[in-house]
Symmetry: C2
Subunit: 355 residues, 2 copies
């Protein structure tokens, strides 16, 4: 299969997801027209946005293990995007986040459907119920996309243990995150642990492992290389997320300015800020932190504190250090050259992005 | 593997689930002690109750296809109980049901943990978030239990398409149910459609198919027999559920008396009652239906209406008719004799139960 770098792979992944969606939406429609909104909402969520980071890493992980990319492999690696769709839909319910990629979150869409159709009961509750089920369905579709991909039975069987572990780690990481928020912890170390489980493993390391496991020549050496690359890069990726959550441009992120501050998200950036803040800065910061009615002036003053304490610079330095560490892991060989180049590009894409 | 009828199989399934849980709980504990409450709550939910209906049907489905039951097969069929745990945990969040089997629902348990530990933020929101994640984890564990069961690779691969379809149908059925409640539909036909998807297929037919697919000699003839048995019996099962939800003894069901009436659940029983009610009975019934503060006197007067309209009798007749239809499907042969006897027993267990 010919493709032209990361853009070409992304296009192939998008095409594969669109095909999968068409087939599965057809099945839902057979059950009944009541399910049309479910299919529509999932289709838009899946196909209108997303950087396909996890399918990309999985495909490159496969390439690096000397695999030859085929449409079947793309179908299998694309399945990771559906796992991610589940995580995002459920995440928005758990955080009570109302927007995602500039559009209403799924629970808000179904809340609106409930209102428009003048249905009985509580619109809010209906929205949450629908979002829980759509997330569940995405998780099930993910498995189905892998199982139905057309890759060899041996490849499916090799991939399942890693696939399962990845998903367990994801949910464990999500719980750690929710619990951490509730603890209102200010520990940098603890928030780094959450970042490690939530993103370090799930966003990069495990997709690489999963992709490698699809290749017939997959061995434990490449698994180690991918861990050495994926774990630091995954953390750097999450730290970049922390920065975007505070400094991101709403036009680019699709979320309101300073959204993480409004939500009171306990990120590494916040923990760093609080550990470096003077007592005045600390009081000022915590006075606004997690306040729903935060306006743009408050966001600016909090951003100033984050910059003035040096926390932003420290995070940038950490991102840099971890990215360098990730790139160094590629120097020892053991990965197919084409994949190595792509991994270098992906390290930049994952950590220098603005959304 | 020797076992003594349904009780023996149930014991084997329970043992298998306990072993699986121990192993997986160990993994969660390695991630961090923060996850102890997750493991504890899932362990109690999985192991303290449940009739193991779906694993039983799957195991019998396997036996009927001339399979020989082994501990590996029991591990594979037990995985269906974990799918069900996901459905129940998420269902309780969606319905805002506070109790399950006489104990607080998972979201209420984590709401209480949030309060006891004096955590930050909204206890209610924390409870919902935890329950969403625990349900997700149960769904993932279900797949893992199947994949790690030790059955042959060929058997795993044969089972995956049915396993996936079953799970998609489950979530589609759950959405139909949620939507039907919101429509406040009074159509008997529509509520039967929901019953068909929600239970008809998911509780009996699909577990039988899944079990059959684990057997090397599985063929399309047995799939048809299981549909002819499972679909009517699954509907009968759901209708019995409707009756228990209104007339069940709280000591036996672990739910408050008349809980479905309090929740305003749009069941076939309710649709039948409304279609048969006089205008006075209708007014009286709807005055109470779905009222949170329903007391036992109200429940009694609603039960009286359900009996007086003849709706209860009609439902009992439908259950009887469907059960007979299910049993007739076994007469044509095509199923191993041992399984046929067990299916006859299961038809009684599924439709004559009181919880």
């Amino acid at each position: 299969m010919d493709f032209d770098g990361i853009l070409g792979l992304t296009a192939a992944i998008n095409g594969s997801l669109a095909d999968f969606f068409d087939r599965e939406a057809g099945f839902l429609k057979e059950v009944g027209t009541e399910l049309d909104p479910v299919a529509d909402a999932l289709g838009h969520f899946l196909l209108d946005g997303g950087k396909r980071l996890r399918p990309l890493f999985a495909t490159i992980g496969f390439l690096g293990a000397a695999g030859e990319v085929t449409p079947e492999i793309i179908r299998a690696t694309s399945s990771l995007e559906l796992v991610h769709v589940c995580a995002l839909i459920h995440d928005d319910v758990m955080d009570a986040s109302d927007t995602r990629r500039g559009a209403p979150a799924i629970h808000k869409q179904f809340e609106a459907l409930h209102e428009t159709q003048n249905l009985h009961g509580n619109s809010d509750q209906f929205g949450v119920a629908a979002a829980i089920l759509l997330g569940d369905l995405a998780l099930i579709w993910a498995a189905k996309a892998l199982h139905d991909s057309g890759i060899s039975p041996a490849a499916i069987l090799r991939s399942l243990p890693i696939y399962d572990e990845m998903r367990v780690e994801l949910m464990a990481g999500q719980y750690l995150d929710v619990y951490e928020q509730a603890l209102a912890s200010e520990s940098v170390e603890r928030s780094l642990k959450v970042a490690r489980y939530k993103s370090g493993k799930y966003s990069i390391e495990r997709p690489l492992h999963f992709g490698a496991s699809l290749a017939p020549d997959f061995n434990s050496e490449i698994i180690d290389i991918y861990s050495n690359y994926g774990l630091p890069l995954g953390e750097a990726f999450q730290l970049r997320d922390d920065i975007i959550g505070v400094f991101g441009d709403p036009e680019v992120t699709g979320k309101p300015a300073g959204d993480d501050l409004r939500e009171g998200k306990r990120t590494v950036l916040v923990a760093k800020t609080l550990s470096l803040a003077s007592s005045n800065q600390r009081i000022e910061f915590l006075r606004h932190f997690g306040q729903n009615e935060l306006d743009i002036t408050d966001v600016h003053s909090m951003r100033e504190i984050i910059v003035d304490t040096g926390a932003l610079n420290e995070l940038e330095a950490m991102i840099n250090e971890m990215t360098v560490k990730a790139l160094e892991s590629l120097l020892g060989g053991g990965i197919a050259p084409e994949a190595r180049t792509l991994l270098e590009e992906m390290a930049v894409a994952a950590t220098k992005r603005s959304s």
